[in-house]
């Protein structure tokens, strides 16, 4: 596996990866108004509070949009190593008022993938330090 595409801990992102190690999907929560957001950013655009924390959310959601990726991207990536073509998906997380996350979906779903299909998070161990949340169709 290419080490240059394995996620790294940074000050801004560590809480997300720590959550994944514990089997949790986490998103950023504003310390001022409580709104959930993802990916993280330094300030809430609604109340301008810089206070923030990582909040566990549901491990279920629905596919919001997707793209079947046929071409080989210019740089290596974990998803690409699982084989081409694959599906790049965006999942809307249940109970979050519209917070969304990226995922990749196995190419075997290309004929069946559709917007709105229910999804669930699974947690893949990539290295001893990194566990990667992935969303997969929950109706096999």
């Amino acid at each position: 596996m290419r080490t240059d595409v394995i996620p790294r801990f940074t000050e801004e992102t560590a809480g997300f990866w720590q959550g994944a190690q514990q089997g949790e999907v986490r998103v950023e929560k504003c310390g001022g108004c409580g709104r959930l957001r993802f990916p993280p950013q330094p300030m809430c655009p609604k109340c301008n509070s810089p206070e923030r924390s990582w909040e566990p959310v549901a491990s279920t959601g629905a596919l919001y949009t997707f793209a079947v990726i046929h071409g080989v991207p210019p740089e290596p990536q974990l998803a690409g190593e699982r084989g081409h073509p694959f599906i790049l998906g965006v999942v809307e997380v249940d109970g979050t008022d519209g917070v969304k996350m990226m995922t990749d979906i196995d190419g075997e779903w290309i004929e069946r993938v559709s917007i709105g299909m229910p999804m669930k998070a699974i947690f893949e161990t990539v290295t001893g330090e990194i566990t990667l949340p992935r969303w997969v169709p929950s109706e096999e």
Partner: protein, 392 residues
Amino acid sequence: VPSAMIAGIGNTEFTQEDTGQRSVDLALEAIKLACEDAHVAPREIDGLIRHTFDSSGSHDQFVANLGIERMRFWPEVPQGGAGAPMALLLADLAIQAGQADIVACYRSYTPFDIGQGARYSPWWIFARNAGMREFGRPYGYGSLAQIYALMFERHIHEYGTTEAQLGEIVAACRLHASMNPRALRPDPITVDEYLDRPYVSGRFREDDLLINPSIGACAVIVMSDERARDLGCPPVHIAGAVGGSPAGGMPNWWEWWSLRDGPITQLGDGDLARRLYERAGITIDDIDVAQIYDCFSFTLMGLIEEYGFCGRGEAGPFVENGNIALGGKLPVNTHGGLIGEAYIHGFNHVLEGVRQIRGTSSAQVQDAQVCLVTGAAPGVTSGMILTRDPTR
């Protein structure tokens, strides 16, 4: 208040061959040609607005090489494709305020600017050193095309838009490119031929994507109406130019647009467009021709809705039946656009807008009086209206 005209345009040859051309060298050539077109000497330039994405030279290098004797105004407009009309807005303001008399604006594009320089920008999802990309890259989120492919799939879902309708945009741009000797994709393509091409990213074919690599530079010279008239320059007025940004969603950040909690099929330019038409003193029916940002075919489709040429979700039917090709209701990208001529971050759209108002385009709209030029979307961006007659 003196209003401003685009008095001169210049561009290098566009090429795909990377022979190590330097961004500054290309810019110098384009600015020199624009000066010749405007009947001024490069040393007379007293304002220089660099339109950039990352780093492509310094103002010092232009003073040193062009022999500029008195540089009075020297800002930089970043934001890549979103920034071309903003550069013209700054030029217009500088002339109105008496801060400069002869203003050059340019965009020079080489693979270094975006492919290599951008790796060091932390606000760029594909930057090697930014933690943000880790929320996309492990899942295969790794190209600009994917941002728009995810939007287009949702547009299909919400509005019943079809791939053939996207193909109409490609066919129109390529028809115009086939008439343009500068174009890097000079072969026309029919919608049926388009549909036979293999997918690359989502529903996109290669033909839907900006031309990569593209290498070249574009420049304009802006001065007061009065001075441009005295020099015998054909009238191309900056009737209005405005900036804008999307509002209301999170994240409001174009690289993560598909993760937004608002509708991702809307590019967020509606407010900009309304203010632009008002400032230019025109209505949408006055627009004869439009140069609309088309880093991907769907970008153009979305912008047709944002700028109000049809209702929300109706851009698919709007572009059918040659409606946006020469001879149609709203000819767009008469140079071929970023998917037909070259990807010079939309500064080539500015030059084509000038040609249309002058009546010198290779795909000329008969008696074009009013031309819209848009910047990229979604995100912080800009747009402008060029007219033959002064409107203020």
